[in-house]
Symmetry: C2
Subunit: 504 residues, 2 copies
């Protein structure tokens, strides 16, 4: 061993304070300029994979290193020029928000100090900030602030965590040791609306229960869960000897923003001894609005709620949040303490080790960006921004209603769906509906490629419709008013091309 | 609706370019100063929860907002003063590395542009950078570069993903629909060494199989899996009618850095038709060293490997990586496409949608920080830094061997374990061993509280031992040479106090 060398260690990954300041200032300036000019760029680069790959360059892992500032400059240019811009005021796709600038600075600070928020003793103040963030999120949506909870990667995990808790709490055998094989051939049963996000497919598929466990409950005219059908299916399953264990309600379905009748679902779950989970990954934040519906406020009755700060709190990805009414249930589900985790106790004081409350052991400090944004704008700032997102969606619905070439389809929370119907075409017949579906599908593809705006789709009662979801504090009424013109112009182009090629 | 207002939107979360630059520059300066002075601070703040909470302040979600720069300043001060400093040259706890400064800048850039790396069309260049990062990691450790893989939150998830794939691939019924209830009462069986990290408890417990499915295979004198016992248990289980499906080997156990005989495990798994997974979350990177053992290089034979860039590639948390030999297996396990995900295809070109390769749908851009660091130092830079970590651990072992008050216990990869044995005390008798265990436990607590250094523990054949894990490019031989003096000084204090209070 060359001991001499190890006294002055070779560590090319170190940046001197001077290098760090220079590279950091330059990156701040480039990001500031980028954020300031997003609206002048196309929303999408619209490049096929081979073009993006050519810009990136291929090749093996470099043998030698390169100067960090140069690499950061390259990376910034690549990202600014070849990304979809959710910070664009006309980006309304999926449920994917514009990111708060303070969130990016928060992620920077978190990564620089690098607390591991798995254990309190490894991240004292970060663990406390996460706990405070969880309480504030609960408070904002009207959920009990003494609940358990933690920040997770996003909506899937924010739903998976309570789902796994429900399995453990409701199994009347030792599922930790014996698995989810219910004794005597009974089958566990999940109840949710057919509008539920695919997290439920993934959960049932991956976590050992199987998708056959899911009872898809029909929806009413407003795409809300049919509670009569729910009661009927639970009764049937009990008669068959199955084990109903969870009801999942939506606080803002992903396609239309529909809110299930949560108070009624809560009552059914209570009466039947089932776990009541609310998927509010998108819409739970809207419960903070003064005019929130009683249905939405019913999430306060749930055993658990998923709510994603990287949706309607405008945090950069990743920031989901799982809330569970009884924090002891989280601990019972997730705590496994190996002999090499030996944490001194703090006598008489509670201190949360988050590795015992969720799926991860090592954990980053996702809470910081959320905590900073909550403090930057306060409750009143959020209420106002969220309310304005809803009002923009409502404005779009009205505009679509009035536009002779658009058909307004649904409006819920900050999601509006609509479709393009060429002048003179009478919707209704099967052939026309098929044509309209193909037309709107192609229209959506061209809209996304065109870079003027970004909307996605839903499929509602067999109709392929365009869908705009407003979780974007950059959008104004002018942006919304511009959309119909773009849609009908491109829609008419497609219609004309297709008619011409069909010889019409 | 007040349409006028929505033309000039109220969005207190926006920062003007000027505000962003000012706050960003100030944060860069504060972080640069912090990173430059870490070594002058205590490694741990050593404050009980109520002190940390008092510093943070309690109270409800603020109704009103506050200026972002002020909040960032407060947050930086809180974090600098009340965190455990993994960037300190004498931090050697758990497997928790010093973070690359370029990684923090990478996380900043990622969050500012905010690509959602769930779908290629939402994150063109970010998806390509992630794919390149996965290839480079595979190349670095000698795994096939055409494998599947993705960045995940950390070691648990990097092991969970392949575990879930193995369940699906090896179940000979439709487990996606029917769950993990094997037909005809057969039980799935997992084989791993008793030294396996608790991810395996969590996986078996949470994912429906139950911990009874785990067959704990004994270890040899070097704490490596006993392959004769493994063969015996598989044969027994087959005779009983159970369904062996996975063998888990360690490439660097968490307690001692032990590497299981991976080529032999691969041969057994192949012969028996079992999935062979290697948990290399910590140690797989060491396979890049020119003098890596044949056992370690055997990870190239695995069906899947977990490897964490936030361990030995010095990325800030979170960055784990799951590699799966056949990328189609990832897709088959995780792809669920809802009707509202409608992505235009790129004719004849492959483009990965990562939501179909793992548990998350929305995904952050974890790969950027890893990609930047790989390019900053290159393969040669990493090989040198990782080799030096190993040499420091070896140096500590030799020093402990030579110190009359220390007992060197194990040395593997960059982990060394040892314990304090007071002069004149003869280890061996049951009473003495119990005393030594308590003594070293108290010693570890005081070491961590003292703030001079940070080591954690292992429990090896009933002995509570101190454990230093070097994944820290700041550490030099001088830091290692300082450790025995600190340990024996504090150890002697505890011993003296205890003897005195026992009247000895």
């Amino acid at each position: 061993m060359k001991q001499v060398e190890l006294r002055e260690r070779f560590a090319p990954i170190v940046m001197t304070a001077e290098e760090f300041r220079a590279a950091g200032h330059r990156l701040v300036d480039r990001i500031a300029e980028f954020l300031d000019t997003v609206q002048t760029r196309p929303v999408t680069p619209n490049e096929p994979p081979h073009v993006v790959r050519a810009a990136l360059g291929d090749g093996p892992l470099p043998a030698q290193g390169a100067p960090p500032q140069e690499l950061l400059d390259q990376a910034a240019t690549l990202l600014f020029e070849h990304s979809v811009l959710s910070a664009h005021p006309r980006f309304w796709g999926y449920i994917y928000s514009s990111a708060a600038p303070i969130g990016a600075l928060g992620d920077f600070l978190a990564a620089a100090v690098n607390p591991n928020v798995g254990a309190w003793n490894l991240s004292p103040v970060a663990s406390e900030i996460e706990a405070q963030t969880v309480r504030w999120i609960a408070e904002l949506i009207g959920y009990p602030t003494d609940c358990g909870g933690l920040l997770v990667s996003g909506g899937n995990m924010a739903n998976f965590v309570p789902f796994l808790v429900a399995c453990k709490v409701k199994a009347d055998w030792d599922a930790s040791r014996e698995g989810l094989r219910a004794p005597a051939g009974r089958l566990l049963r999940i109840y949710c609306s057919a509008e539920t996000h695919t997290w439920i497919h993934k959960a049932a598929d991956l976590f050992g229960m199987g998708m056959d466990a899911i009872r898809w409950i029909g929806a009413d005219a407003d795409l809300r869960m049919d509670t009569a059908e729910l009661r009927g299916r639970i009764a049937e399953d009990r008669t068959r000897g199955d084990l109903p264990f969870i009801v999942v309600g939506a606080a803002g379905s992903v396609s239309t923003g529909a809110v299930d009748p949560l108070p009624e679902l809560a009552a059914i779950a209570r009466e039947q001894g089932l776990w009541f989970h609310v998927d509010g990954a998108y819409g739970a934040i809207a419960a903070a609005l003064p005019d929130a519906s009683a249905d939405l406020r019913g999430l306060a009755l749930a055993d658990s709620v998923a709510v994603d700060p990287h949706k309607w709190l405008y945090a950069p990805v990743e920031a989901g949040c799982a809330l569970v009414r009884n924090r002891g249930d989280l601990f019972k589900t997730f705590s496994h303490r190996p002999p090499y985790y030996h944490f001194p106790e703090h006598e008489g004081e509670e201190s949360v080790n988050y590795f015992e409350h969720g799926m991860q052991n090592s954990r980053g400090f996702r809470a910081l960006k959320v905590w900073l944004a909550l403090r930057q704008v306060g409750r009143e700032g959020y209420v106002r921004m969220v309310a304005d997102d809803v009002r923009l969606a409502q404005a779009l619905y009205r505009i679509a209603q009035e536009d002779p070439e658009l058909e307004a389809i649904t409006q819920g929370l900050s999601i509006t769906t609509f479709r393009y119907v060429p002048r003179g075409l009478k919707a209704g017949s099967q052939g026309t509906e098929e044509y309209l579906n193909k037309l709107n599908e192609e229209l959506m593809t061209r809209l996304q490629a065109g870079g003027e705006t970004f909307v996605t789709n839903a499929v509602i009662r067999g109709k392929f419709v365009l869908r705009a979801c407003f979780v974007n504090f950059h959008s104004t009424l002018a942006d919304v008013e511009a959309l119909p013109g773009i849609v009908t112009r491109i829609g008419a182009e497609v219609d004309k091309e297709w008619r011409r090629s069909a010889g019409l």
